[in-house]
Symmetry: C2
Subunit: 733 residues, 2 copies
């Protein structure tokens, strides 16, 4: 499907560009028109757009002078207008009804008057102010959609009207981007992708080669910046988007929609083939980074409600189907999106669903690992998965680079999702997107002050200070390193080190997702910190659920509650309870949904334990009230051995509860030295040994040593050996 | 369908009782057997039960000596066993496979050995200890199911086996109930219903008239207690169950399952026709007291996760379909239950669904009012509803009697549900049912100490003391009185008074659910308190959502947080913020789901405002962390005029937000005296007047008075008049 008919046609007449070409061609529109009534999902998508647009036909649609911040009237109006123009343009080509073109013309002529007069937006903050909107990013959104709308309808305008629109509505915005905001335009960042897509789309729509070249190669046209450089530098070779899945979702729209235009207008670029089909990898990686319910995993800044039914993913999937071919996994997603674009891919997907083609209930989630960095050599992120259908467990382990301005200080962070629910959580971002009363809908101050700090995550905090002292630039220079991993079968493991986040502190974390007898799943988390100096090490578990039981006594704040600290995020945590414990196996059981979870923590020597909840020093009620369980150890070299046991069942409808206590009886660190870590654990009916090599993590290295009366012999960096508790010597690796 | 074939058969041979008869007859079982393969839902229900039971065929099933509290091993084992025996008995009759009878026999013989030896349960507390379980109620559950299992399989046992079982397994339990626990057995309470059903079911299963008579008429057989008295005294004439919907759900099982047995075994009782078909009314009232998602509204003690897919409602609906006939509303529920009983009603429902019969997406919810009390003269509860499908808004107003031992001190309480979500909330009960670590799965101490206290609700608290000083017996002697109501059309209203909850304080609350222009909905809440003495009046709004904005400045607890008080539930509230305000219209906007809600409160003179959150003095983490907004006024006579405005839309997937600020501009109390209350409100485009008559609330009384330049003339207890803000004089009533 990569070489479609129109593509051949376009190659033949490269110098006399036909319009429309950005979204689809006239021929494609005609095919959609004839397909609409045949496929229910296409019909429904068409009806919905038509209903929305038809309500505005013949009306005087406001183009207000920009005034309000995000979520305010003028912001919403301009956002509404660009969607309306684009949809009306699409409908014009499908229906040939001139009223749709007239609607677009009316608005474009108003923008032609407005845009040349615009100063910096009155509510603008920061280094990239917008004109129509408070930030230039939103102006870029406007440009992408509006350029397509123009391309879709320009055949209905007179030459004079075209000139008015091109000079008045588009040129001021393009010049503003490429001159006033040239540094912002020439930047490797999701804003830059939008900016290039906007300028490039105008270039194609207005037959302006200069614009297209700047969009593709940067204002200097040397290829250092621009869309093609963005394709090289924002994705790792595996398609991982360095800012994380929430922004991968956001960026994928301009990547796909502009590539879709280039695919037709400049087929010689072979845009969808570039970099070993990086755009396909990007889409698939973005989908793998969603939870069972389609929500993007909260890595770095992320709105946690966002899922793959968002317009960006509808667009990417429908275009991908067209250019990369059919994919049953995409169909599972498209079914949940419950709408398609009115283009070839959308029609094909609607046809596939109408044909009764089989596809899975959920996207085919798998254990995956993505390298970070342009060359794939800047750490990465692993998603360990176990379980079918709704019983899926996903353990996320992050050892990537910082993730640009949306990154968090959370190297070696873990998160756990189980049965579609968030168990070990990430705060996400502190933001109410587009809710005007909440800081103009922008990132709240608590996003930097709390959500991106290390203590808001599930990784060790040294001396109540965030990694890299909370300096983004410093963090941006480093990344963690993966030591080894194994992501298949019933024992999955990833091990990584981080030696730069805290001066003089070496951190190594190895996490296992293990399936034991009778389908029982546990996570084993071995986190060692080593330093020549004395430190305080806090390992928080942000959990979601209700405290059911603890094995330890604690002192709760009953009549007076104080924050955990004064800075680096600690000031936002109320200290609900604290405990001290000596040489013990600490257990903390909580209930989430229909399942019990117990964190078992080996305390050798002593530790302090805290139950905290966000909300201190939050006079504007900007933060949710989320709990965490923090294990604090002091010393030079300390080892945190934690097991998260997934157990039991609770059903409030039948009022039944079973297995509410963990069956794990003991966990012991048998050995911890430069060469090996050996942990032994007794579950209900199994003895489990975990051995790690601490020096040589080679795949083929053979290890053998005696531990008490046992001899451990194995190949590779780790060994998990289980035995029934009654007999001996049954091995699995 | 009321006179089914087998009923006629049974009448004919009343003295030679056939078995089975409690759950279904042999003939009915044969019909089910032939229907299973025809109706998918029946097949699926059958397969599920068969799969569960088949796993235990031929196995040695443990009948452990009772030891554990709720949720523990022996508790769960006995609960499991009675379900298993019942299901195996049902399968025996459908399949005629002797192995199912053998399974039941194996267990019954074990119980025959165990039960005669049982002392009081070691974990028993309270006045009605169980033997197999910690409380006798669970023993009654056991008796109901096990007696049916015996009835279903006794034909496969020898006479000697029958004697062993009847004497060993049943008689000790029946005697324990009717002698040792005679007072508990002879009690008008949901426990009593279960106890009577249990003993009566044994009576029918074992042909023991004595048992049946005690079950029907109490141990004295005078009809003062027993099942028939329970039918008279626990439901109001409207079918309202005085303990509230959560317990209505619980009680409906023994009512229906025992009535189902009596229907066959003693057709002359015409049990389903009694008291104008009170059991039908009870079922329909219980269903009307559920939210869009099928969850029972949390009135009095209630586990908030519980919904109508529970076994009790499957049973009641399937039996009701059989005896009261087809009902499309029940079909909507049955579809969500996604299983049916293996009896005639279940088969008919499965058939109706398989036939493609149309039924609504949701149970056909309507505005309804239920009187409380045996004679319907003890106050009641109103459910005002507006909106179709998912846009349903439900306002609950409670002015009932106390609700026995599960009642809360919440007279004149309101709750609001919107679009399926809880907006103005009720804590429900403080309990983790059957979670052993949480106080043995019983009601937590915080249930009495917090959840049932007045401050945990949405009604006025006088002087930080709960209604009736928190004395259940005292509260049980009183009920509120409804003044008037109107529950149709776009203006719905209920008004009620409570003059006993606080000595010397008269409380009157009138709540309106009003639909204004363009479908906009508001709740208007006019709460007057009058006293000869000075008091402190707290009106809490337990809300669910995230604070978005307030019109007032407050001082937040940032670095030190303290409880609101020391007793009557106040000790559990952290004071997150407080404010003082003078003569103003207070606004507090919060976001829940995709909708904004603003509470607007008229403050004349002065008021204090508090934001609180549960969790203080909660060292065992037994409470959720739920927020509330409390309006505090001091004085003798005070009026609380509050409007809850439902507005705007927020979509985190498309990141759009609109209408996040309330369009209500002003609210003024124009008049408040013995005769009239007049409130005026300006919304975006309407002027709304609300007039209430405070003396004569007659339906036909005419009122007329001048207020400023306006003349208000109307008939009945209230008037809502709206005008467009630009023109005048458009009236609606």
């Amino acid at each position: 499907m990569l070489l479609s008919i129109w593509l051949l046609l376009l190659v033949a007449r490269a110098h006399a560009q036909q319009h429309p070409v950005t979204f689809f061609t006239k021929a494609e529109a005609a095919r959609i028109a004839s397909a609409v009534q045949r496929y229910p999902l296409l019909q429904q998508s068409y009806d919905q757009i038509k209903k929305e647009v038809d309500g505005w036909i013949g009306k005087d649609i406001p183009v207000p002078v920009p005034k309000d911040e995000a979520g305010g009237y003028t912001h919403t109006a301009h956002r509404f207008n660009y969607n309306l123009m684009f949809n009306s343009g699409v409908l014009y080509n499908i229906t040939n009804d001139a009223r749709y073109a007239a609607l677009v013309k009316q608005l474009l002529l108003k923008y032609a008057k407005l845009n040349s007069t615009l100063p910096k937006h009155p509510k603008a903050t920061g280094s990239s102010p917008g004109r129509l909107f408070w930030q230039a990013l939103n102006d870029a959104n406007w440009l992408v959609y509006t350029a397509m709308a123009y391309d879709l309808t320009r055949s209905a305008f007179t030459a004079a009207e075209r000139k008015t629109i091109e000079d008045g509505a588009f040129r001021p915005q393009v010049e503003y981007f490429t001159r006033d905001l040239q540094k912002w335009f020439d930047k490797i960042h999701n804003h830059g992708v939008w900016a290039c897509a906007g300028v490039g789309m105008v270039g194609i729509a207005t037959d302006n080669k200069e614009y297209v070249d700047m969009a593709l190669y940067g204002t200097a046209k040397d290829g250092k910046y621009g869309f093609l450089a963005q394709m090289e530098k924002l994705y790792s070779p595996d398609g991982y988007y360095t800012e994380g899945p929430y922004y991968a979702r956001y960026a994928i729209y301009p990547y796909y929609i502009f590539a879709n235009a280039l695919h037709r207008a400049k087929p010689e670029l072979k845009i969808f083939e570039r970099r070993n089909r990086i755009l396909q990898k990007a889409l698939l990686a973005t989908l793998q980074q969603t939870n069972l319910d389609g929500k993007f995993f909260p890595v770095n800044d992320a709105i946690k409600d966002k899922d793959f039914t968002t317009n960006e993913l509808v667009t990417a999937i429908d275009i991908a189907w067209d250019v990369y071919g059919a994919d049953a996994g995409l169909l599972a997603v498209a079914k949940k999106q419950n709408r398609v674009l009115l283009n070839s891919g959308g029609a094909m997907i609607a046809k596939a669903i109408a044909s009764g083609q089989k596809f899975p209930d959920h996207y085919p989630y798998a254990s995956v690992e993505y390298r970070d960095g342009v060359n794939g050599d800047e750490g990465g992120i692993s998603f360990l998965r176990n379980g079918k259908g709704k019983d899926l467990t996903t353990l996320i382990f992050k050892y990537s680079s910082h993730g640009l301005s949306h990154g968090h200080f959370d190297k070696l962070n873990i998160n756990l999702f189980d049965k579609g629910r968030e168990i070990l959580t990430d705060y996400g971002s502190a933001r109410f997107v587009n809710v005007e009363q909440k800081y103009g809908g922008r990132y709240l101050p608590e996003n930097d002050a709390y959500a991106s700090q290390t203590i808001a995550h599930n990784t060790v905090v040294v001396d109540e200070t965030s990694q890299f002292n909370g300096h983004e630039k410093l963090s941006g220079r480093h990344h963690s390193e993966k030591l080894f991993s194994s992501i298949s079968d019933s024992v999955q493991v990833v091990s990584a080190v981080e030696n730069n986040a805290y001066k003089g502190v070496q951190m190594k974390r190895t996490v296992y997702l293990v399936q034991l007898n009778r389908g029982k799943k546990i996570m084993v988390d071995v986190f060692s910190v080593r330093s020549a100096d004395e430190h305080q090490y806090d390992l928080p578990f942000q959990y979601s659920g209700q405290l059911i039981a603890t094995s330890f006594k604690y002192e709760a704040a009953t009549a007076n509650m104080r924050p955990m600290g004064t800075k680096n995020g600690y000031q936002y945590l109320w200290k609900e309870a604290e405990a001290r414990t000596l040489d013990s196996l600490v257990r903390f059981t909580f209930l989430n949904g229909n399942t019990y979870y117990t964190i078992l923590s080996v305390v050798e020597d002593s530790a302090q334990l805290f139950f905290t909840r966000t909300g201190a020093n939050d006079p504007n009620f900007n933060l949710r009230r989320d709990p965490s369980f923090i294990i604090r150890k002091k010393g030079k070299d300390r080892l945190f051995v934690n097991v998260l046991d997934i157990h039991g069942a609770y059903d409030p409808v039948s009022e039944s509860s079973s297995g509410s206590a963990s069956e794990i009886k003991t966990i012991k660190t048998l050995r911890q030295d430069d060469r090996y870590t050996v942990i032994a654990m007794e579950t209900g009916d199994q003895l489990v040994y975990i051995c790690q090599s601490n020096q040589d993590t080679g795949k083929h290295t053979q290890h053998s040593f005696r531990q008490g009366s046992d001899v451990f012999t194995w190949t590779g960096p780790f060994l998990i050996r289980t035995r029934p508790l009654t007999t001996i010597n049954q091995q699995t690796k």
